[in-house]
């Protein structure tokens, strides 16, 4: 492989191009900005995880004995706020998306590099507000901020947290805008839409939601703030408002937000499945267009969070039927990934293990979505642990498996080093087992009738809660292991070649780590997506000699 040639002399790449804190904080290189995001979201992942640990500890016993009820309520609220807004939403787009989209389309950078850096700063400012809110006592409304509790009754730091989310939303909007413009205008010559990697397609769909959906949550938070500060009657009926209106506005963003989290993960999985089997994704066009279909239908199903909210019965029926419609493109993707394995050359490397794990979680998470969209059944399981289990299967089982799978797969590209394969496979297995043990019992718990956000619970729910807490401890260890060995590998891992997987895609045709300008020569694309050819003919476009 080409790597041996490069090893002889130290080569300039994006990491060693410049040194010092300033060179990072003022960088406009999308790859460095991706790493800034990676560091920030990792911090929030472990902060949110800490709250999860505290929640699971409290729920070991039926009585509320570890902390006060008020403290517990703050734990689950901050777990949700931190995980959703500061980890899951930016997780894949801001890190892997930021790093890879220009590389995958043969561009030097995103369309607006400075805007990209601004996005990160906006994220940080929003995060600081939320951190101050947490340190200053936290907030106890649940991450859903339902009115009139949040506007009139809660004594937590609702405003400060809200401002944090409001600000961070703009980082999401700008990232989405940057991606859309980049994908439209900066594709390499020959790289037509249907030659794009599916990762890019799914990020395009995600960006549409970011740009169209996020302003709605910003407006909603502003209205909430108006009511809380100035007592303008918008949501509280005592002031002349309508509390259910808040739920409509909130879910109009927050349902599509689920697709902001999971569509990029689907994009990652498409890359992993194609490259770890060395085959074109079966039904490439259907998978690409399914992402767009999900983004569009995703805007039309928010009312399925409100089947017992006093929303009209007929509205409930419309939202139910549309929710089933959005299930179809998700199912199509799953079938196509499975079919891609047929007659492939299937590797059992860590990224592929994560892809298998993702598909497994996605089947369970997706199928239990059918339970929740069924009106008559949702009446029973709504606001119980069944819902908690379902959305963790999608958002954690789905998004984090995609995120970790992608991080391993592109780690050699990002860091120029290989991670230790044995440890990585072990960690993937631990996470898979720990996750299922944590969340599967919660489906049963929910159907048995345990409501969510309960600090203390009747004795009959204890067995399943203990199982869940036990699983969570395994899951926690599973998440710590990659953290350790990935850090280790940055210094001690074996050097990676430009294409250690024998993978397809422009990002593998430049050196690892890539130079600041990504490609020395603008690549010209003459091949279809994932067009693996029997003869190894990929050339590295980075070569310094012409």
């Amino acid at each position: 492989m080409e790597s041996e040639v490069q090893n002889k002399a130290p080569r300039t790449h994006y990491i060693n191009a410049r040194y010092g804190l300033k060179s990072w904080l003022f960088t406009i290189d999308h790859k460095r900005i991706a790493l800034l995001y990676l560091a920030s979201i990792t911090f929030f992942f472990f902060l949110g995880g800490l709250f999860a640990v505290l929640i699971r500890l409290e729920l070991l016993t039926p009585k509320g004995d570890l902390v006060q009820a008020e403290t517990y309520n703050r734990f689950f609220t901050m777990h949700g706020v931190v995980m959703v807004f500061f980890f899951l939403i930016p997780a894949i787009p801001a890190t892997l998306g930021n790093f890879l989209i220009p590389l995958m389309i043969g561009a030097r950078d995103l369309a607006f590099p400075r805007l990209n850096l601004l996005s990160w700063y906006i994220y940080v400012v929003g995060a600081v507000f939320t951190l101050i809110a947490i340190v200053g006592g936290g907030v106890d409304t649940g991450w859903t901020f339902y009115t009139p509790y949040s506007t009139t009754y809660s004594n937590g730091n609702v405003l400060l947290t809200g401002i944090g989310i409001f600000i961070t939303g703009f980082s999401s909007i700008l990232t989405g805008l940057n991606f859309i413009v980049t994908i439209h205008t900066m594709r390499a010559p020959g790289l037509s839409w249907f030659r794009l990697p599916l990762f890019v397609w799914s990020h395009y769909a995600t960006s549409l939601i970011m740009v169209l959906g996020t302003p709605v949550i910003a407006i909603t938070i502003l209205l909430l703030a108006f009511e809380r500060i100035a007592h303008v009657g918008i949501f509280d009926p005592k002031l002349g408002g309508d509390p259910v209106l808040f739920q409509h506005l909130f879910w109009f963003y927050s349902h599509p937000a689920v697709y902001i989290m999971v569509l990029p993960a689907m994009g990652v999985i498409s890359e992993l499945v194609a490259n770890m089997t060395r085959k074109n994704i079966f039904g490439y066009k259907f998978v690409a267009l399914a992402s767009i279909a999900i983004a569009i239908f995703g805007f039309l199903v928010w009312g399925h969070h409100m089947f017992v909210s006093t929303q009209s019965v007929y509205a409930g029926m419309i939202f139910s039927i549309l929710s089933y419609a959005v299930a179809i493109p998700s199912a199509v993707k799953t079938f196509n990934w499975t079919a891609t394995l047929y007659k492939g050359s299937i590797s059992y490397n860590t990224p592929m293990l994560y892809a298998f794990g993702f598909i497994g979680f996605f089947i369970i998470g997706g199928m239990t979505g059918l339970f929740l969209a069924a009106l008559g059944l949702d009446i029973h399981v709504h606001d119980t642990y069944f819902v908690v289990a379902h959305f963790h299967y999608i958002m954690v089982g789905g998004t984090i498996m995609g995120y970790l799978g992608g991080l391993h797969y592109w780690w050699p590209k990002i860091s120029g080093r290989m991670y230790p394969e044995g440890w990585a496979r072990f960690a993937a297995l631990v996470i898979f087992v720990g996750f299922n043990l944590t969340f599967f019992p919660q489906f049963l718990l929910g159907y048995q009738g345990m409501p969510r956000r309960y600090y203390a619970y009747p004795d009959e729910f204890q067995v399943l809660n203990v199982m869940s807490s036990a699983g969570a401890s395994i899951l926690g260890v599973g998440y710590l292991i990659p953290m350790v060995y990935l850090f280790w590998s940055m210094r001690y891992g074996p050097k990676a070649g430009s294409n250690p997987w024998g993978a397809f895609g422009l990002e593998w045709r430049t050196s690892s780590p890539p130079p600041t300008e990504n490609f020395k020569v603008t690549p010209v694309v003459t091949w279809e997506a994932y067009e693996f050819s029997p003869v190894e003919e990929t050339e590295v476009i980075d070569i310094s000699t012409p």
Binding site: S320, I321, I328, Y342, M367, L375, G376, D383, R452
Partner: protein, 350 residues
């Protein structure tokens, strides 16, 4: 015939079996789909495992036929589940007229129940087995949600309006009642019990109670608050006649119609100008802040009780010819005089 699903709560209402059947079916479907995909994935993963490092498999074209198959079949299955789920749901929102009314007021962090006969309970509700029960619910503060797992029953309780739900318990026993919508510090303490009793026991429980019937309390309020001066049963008042009104359609100014249900009665007391009955002036003052949620429910119960009165052909609002002038002395000409008699007997609930 009811199937029992593992890890499911008691089956104690007519909904329980229906919901469990759909739940069981969906798990069967999940396991079926999951098993097929898992077996395929494992089979492919083993059979087509990478044998040499530089192996490049032959490309496989996609198949339009397969794409259509696995789009269309799931679509029809999904529509089937939708129909099944919707049919269970729809029933719950069409309460039968013979249902026994119970009024619920939630607040941080307790459930208050008022029976028509006057019994009041906190965090505990006694009801007879086999009877259809209709809950009309509201809250004094934030959103709560009434959840009885054994009945497969849940409905949000929203401030500023009434929500209602009905059910029919099938097994006597004591069942957990939870608040399912997060409502603040002691959300998890907002739990109670539903006591489903044999009818005879229920009767003796009822007779053990003290206090006057809900509608009677409502009638007293009706006098005290002065409602009676305008809403005269003889049709001479400045407001519409309420006897025989409940459950009927009333014509509004502007030509719209409204069904006089609990929500409309409530709105008319708190926000009288919102929907003014045709032929009357918007002169009624609001009672917002003057009556509690519980008193409101008593008033509603009273209006409902006199709603069963025979009336002439016309409930108040349906007055064919509007009164000429609304002043202190205005005499509505329209509706025939409604008898005064009905009110008294209707106070006693069935």
């Amino acid at each position: 015939m009811q199937l029992s699903v593992p890890f499911s709560p008691d089956q104690a209402s007519t909904y329980s079996g229906e919901v469990d059947a759909l739940y069981g079916f969906l798990w069967a479907l999940t396991i079926g789909v999951g098993a097929v995909l898992t077996i395929l994935i494992i089979y492919f993963a083993v059979k087509y495992r990478r044998r040499t490092e530089d192996e490049i498999p032959k490309a496989v074209e996609g198949s339009l036929k397969l794409e259509v198959v696995w789009t269309v079949i799931p679509f029809f299955i999904a529509m089937g589940i939708f129909t099944w789920g919707a049919s269970i749901y729809y029933k719950r929102y069409s309460p039968p007229s013979e249902a026994l009314d119970v009024y619920v007021v939630a607040k941080q962090w307790m459930w208050k129940f008022q029976h028509l006969d006057g019994q009041r309970e906190i965090n505990e509700l006694h009801i007879p087995v086999g009877r259809k029960i209709k809950l009309t619910m509201t809250t004094e503060d934030v959103i709560h949600s009434l959840f009885v797992p054994a009945f497969r029953l849940k409905m949000d309780v929203v401030p500023g309006k009434y929500s209602s739900i009905w059910f029919q318990p099938t097994e006597a026993g004591r069942y957990h009642l939870f608040c399912a919508e997060y409502c603040g510090t002691s959300h998890s303490g907002m739990i109670g019990w539903i006591d489903v009793m044999e009818p005879s026991e229920y009767q003796s429980w009822l007779s053990g109670g003290s206090g006057e019937a809900l509608a009677a309390s409502g009638e007293k309020l009706f006098q005290q608050l002065g409602c009676v001066t305008c809403h005269r049963s003889d049709g001479q008042g400045r407001g519409p006649i309420l006897e025989g009104l409940f459950g009927k359609e009333a014509a509004l100014q502007g030509g719209q119609k409204v069904t006089a249900d609990e929500a409309y009665v409530r709105e008319s007391i708190l926000n009288p100008k919102a929907k003014v009955v045709e032929g009357y002036q918007p002169i009624m003052p609001t009672f917002q802040g003057l009556v509690t949620e519980e008193q409101l429910l008593q008033l509603v119960a009273y209006v409902k009780s006199i709603g069963k009165t025979q009336t002439g052909t016309n409930p108040a609002g349906a007055s064919p010819s509007p009164p000429n002038k609304m002043g202190a002395a205005a005499v509505p000409t329209g509706p025939p005089q409604t008898g005064r008699s009905g009110g008294a007997e209707a106070k006693k609930p069935r």
